[in-house]
């Protein structure tokens, strides 16, 4: 089980065994850019960043409902599934952690209800918190206090991606459904239970945020340990809401479950929290099977999508495209391949590689389970870069649609910026493959490099560490080779 909040209010006392981070280079962005700190400390910060996005989101839903039902002429398809996805996976997550969660409109109404306010803070008592909150404020069930729901939810959604990637109304149902679920859950469960345990987007963002080049952390964890008795970042204060993600910054060692809402920055009595720039892949510890399987699922989906959307096999495209073709048997095979690869195939290979690694290391004291989980971190940079390599051609092929739909977002014949009728043309298609090759090799490099860092946390002897890494390293190399083979042809 991962570093799960629900439990983190209760378990905040448990000190981490190691930092789980590649240390120590980092730049305090609040010091370097004072305006950033000033902005993040504004009481209205969250509202100011979410509200414009909410307006855009509602407009997208409106476009999905009443605009053209032709996918490439409707802004909800082009901007959400092509433009947003590309920005999210290529820039937001690797460079800015869970910055999307800061602006995400899904929890807006639920959080408004819970707080009874959009800007101000209510002091008071709710459970162990120092804020007055509305709703039932129940604790999320312990059995579900992990990211398994997100794992399965994302896998299920992606199985039907051909539907919502092409049909605006289905996108409305999916996005609107998540919006409604987020709101309803907020009535019953405390704070952002939806974001923590249910949101399918949140799950992979958390995992891949470990690679991010920024982090929110205590400036000096010793100050938290020695001087802070109130833990206001976790429990709230008259200056800031209790952490919606149930995180105690004093012991926070990974990006996974920090939504960057900046409430802790406001409520910290010691002004001891900041946002830092750091090297790529700063957090290196995967904790729990749920997180490992998230890595497997993401990698499997990147592979299946690359084969389906970028590969030359028409039959697989036909299987995936259940809405247009209606080949249920083919779709069953397609879905079966996705689920088997993600939940059984890759994990089985990984388990075998981990076991071989243990044999090669010659140290029986480290359980295979630990090797399996910890080395699954290698699939984090690998999977992320595979996703970016997959997403790049999509944006380069469909970029023209972005420019045209911004002028005619509903497909109603508007021409707001004079670009509605620009002809479709791929952007620099001749360079796509070189970008993909670089990205994939970069992913493999970081998989191996950080894998080595992880191995050193398991084995004190360097040669043992390297030997234990060989089988999983080979698996990573084979995966990247397969991607290269597919993309290069």
């Amino acid at each position: 089980m991962g570093n799960h909040p629900a439990n983190s209010v209760d378990k905040a006392k448990d000190a981490p065994k190691d930092s789980g981070q590649v240390k120590p280079f980092r730049i305090d962005l609040f010091k370097t850019i004072p305006f950033l700190k000033k902005f993040c400390k504004l009481r209205s910060f969250q509202f100011l960043v979410i509200f414009p996005n909410l307006v855009i989101f509602v407009f997208f839903l409106y476009a999905g409902l009443f605009g053209s039902r032709v996918g490439n002429r409707n802004i909800i398809i082009i901007f959400v599934w092509i433009f947003w996805w590309f920005l999210l996976i290529t820039f937001m997550v690797p460079f800015a952690s869970r910055v999307w969660c800061v602006v995400c409109p899904f929890p807006f109404f639920g959080e408004w209800f819970q707080r009874g306010a959009l800007i101000k803070v209510r002091s008071g008592k709710t459970g162990g918190l120092r804020n007055k909150m509305f709703g039932l404020n129940k604790k999320w069930p312990k059995a579900l206090s992990n990211i398994w729901l997100q794992d399965i939810g994302f896998l299920a959604l992606c199985t039907f991606s051909a539907l919502f990637l092409t049909r605006p109304i289905v996108s409305v149902i999916v996005l609107g459904g998540l919006f409604v679920i987020a709101t309803i859950l907020a009535f019953f469960y405390r704070q952002r239970a939806f974001c923590m345990y249910v949101c399918p987007v949140s799950g992979f963002q958390g995992l891949y945020a470990m690679t991010s080049m920024i982090e929110l952390r205590a400036v000096d964890p010793e100050v938290c340990r020695r001087e802070c008795k109130t833990k206001n970042c976790l429990t709230g204060s008259e200056k800031g809401w209790a952490c919606p993600w149930y995180q105690y910054v004093g012991k926070m060692e990974r990006n996974n479950y920090c939504g960057l809402c900046m409430e802790c920055v406001k409520s910290c009595p010691n002004d001891n929290i900041s946002v830092f720039a750091r090297p790529f892949c700063g957090d290196i510890h995967v904790k729990g099977y749920d997180e490992s399987w998230k890595a497997f699922i993401m990698l499997a989906l990147a592979m299946v999508y690359a084969v389906t959307l970028l590969g030359p096999w028409g039959t697989i495209k036909e299987w995936a495209n259940i809405a247009e073709v209606g080949n249920w048997k083919g779709f069953g095979i397609y879905a079966g391949i996705i689920w088997f690869t993600a939940l059984i195939g890759i994990p089985a290979v990984w388990a075998l590689a981990s076991w071989l690694g243990k044999l090669l290391a010659g140290d029986r004291s480290i359980p295979t389970k630990e090797i399996f989980i910890k080395y699954s971190y290698m699939l984090v940079p690998l999977g992320l870069l595979a996703w970016i390599a997959f997403s790049f051609p999509l944006i380069m092929i469909n970029g023209a649609y972005i420019i045209s739909t911004i002028s005619d977002p509903l497909g109603w014949g508007w021409d707001l910026f004079g670009t509605a009728d620009i002809p479709w043309r791929p952007i620099l298609p001749e360079y796509t493959i070189y970008i993909q090759i670089l990205l994939l090799l970069f992913g493999l490099f970081f998989a191996l490099k950080r894998g080595y860092d992880v191995s050193l946390t398991l084995y004190q002897d360097k040669s043992q560490a390297v030997r234990s890494l060989i089988p999983t390293g080979v698996v990573c190399a084979v995966i990247i080779f397969a991607f290269l083979r597919l993309f290069i042809g």
């Binding site: 509602v58 009443f66 053209s68 039902r69 959009l118 109304i169 497909g411 014949g413 508007w414």
Partner: protein
């Protein structure tokens, strides 16, 4: 803080209301309303599933369940019209040859605008001339232009029927009738193959190399028995029986039908037309295409299907009831 809170709340409420209002206002004022005053702006949406050009609003909320109505467009003589054509699904082609509109390619999701003036009163047919689905041949409608002060005629709309009763496939004639209806043959060749469907811009005989297929209207099918030289009802029945029998046994002997090999040759010609299609010639080589063309059915119909259709249309001939006539005499 209290002021900020109220301002934030108001911003949320106002923007949620403002989005649909702003969209509607912009669309009506600047997109539809951006034409000279008095212009009639008509949006026609092509829907392949229903086989219609419709005036209904089509979007994701209703496309999958609504049975859209085919549009009849009523205009007054002298009306200035902007026709906004859009496809909600697949590629369509709008064509109203008698009004000199089109053919206009209408790509999914794009709007094509046509400007014209309603000049001569009359009832004009428009079509989709790009094969777009099972209901393609039903995708026709009317533009009715009425002289000022007169009431418009109301031409009968043509509607695609999805649910035809499907007979057993081995009942060859019934199967042919089913295919004839389901595939929309009746939209051009008329109910029960009676013909009479006008095909504007027809060529006159002698203008082209092969005038046999050029008619003022689409060829009728209820006279096919006659054009096959099947002179007696019994001959027609025998030939149809032979068609049925040869399905399981291709080498059966010829039936006892006079001039059988001429009949067979005619039948094979008809089969070739169904299989390969045949274009109607243009009256004026520089003029517009005739809207109705015989498409190729090679991909969509099997040999058995085509034989079944032939068998069915042979039975459409209205034979004279000689015995009854003799009795009356």
């Amino acid at each position: 803080m209290r002021f900020k809170e109220i301002l934030a709340t108001l911003s949320v409420v106002v923007s949620l209301v403002a989005i649909p209002v702003a969209v509607g206002w912009y669309h009506n004022s600047y997109v539809l309303g951006g034409h000279p005053e008095g212009t009639k702006v008509i949006t026609l949406s092509g829907v392949a599933e229903s086989g219609v050009w419709t005036l209904d609003k089509v979007n994701g909320t209703n496309y999958w369940w609504k049975d859209f109505k085919p549009a009849t467009i009523y205009l007054q003589e002298g009306d200035k019209v902007v026709l906004r054509l859009q496809s909600t699904d697949v590629h369509h082609r709008f064509y109203a040859p008698q009004l000199n509109i089109g053919p206009i390619e209408v790509e999914p999701g794009y709007i094509e605008e046509v400007h014209f003036e309603a000049q001569t009163p009359g009832t004009y047919r428009y079509y989709c001339t790009a094969i777009c689905g099972d209901c393609h041949f039903y995708m026709q409608g009317w533009i009715v232009i009425t002289a000022k002060g007169q009431s418009p005629q109301e031409p009968p709309p043509l509607k695609c029927v999805h649910e035809f009763e499907q007979p057993p496939e081995d009942d060859m004639v019934a199967w042919g009738r089913y295919l004839y209806q389901k595939n929309g043959c009746i939209t051009c060749h008329g109910d029960d193959g009676k013909g009479g469907i006008e095909n504007p811009n027809y060529a006159k005989e002698g203008d082209i190399e092969d005038p046999s297929y050029v008619k003022g209207s689409v060829p009728a099918h209820n006279t096919i028995a006659e054009s096959f030289f099947l002179e007696e009802k019994e001959d027609a029945e025998t030939f149809v029986e032979w068609l049925i029998e040869k399905q399981g046994e291709p080498n059966i002997p010829p039936p006892d039908v006079p001039r059988f090999f001429i009949v067979l040759r005619k039948c094979e010609d008809a089969i070739a037309i169904i299989r390969e299609g045949k274009n109607c010639a243009k009256a004026d080589p520089n003029g517009p295409e005739p809207p109705l063309q015989m498409p190729s059915w090679e991909v969509r119909l099997t040999d058995y299907d085509i034989d079944a259709i032939i068998a069915y249309i042979i039975t459409l001939y209205e034979w004279e009831e000689e015995e009854e006539w003799e009795e009356e005499e």
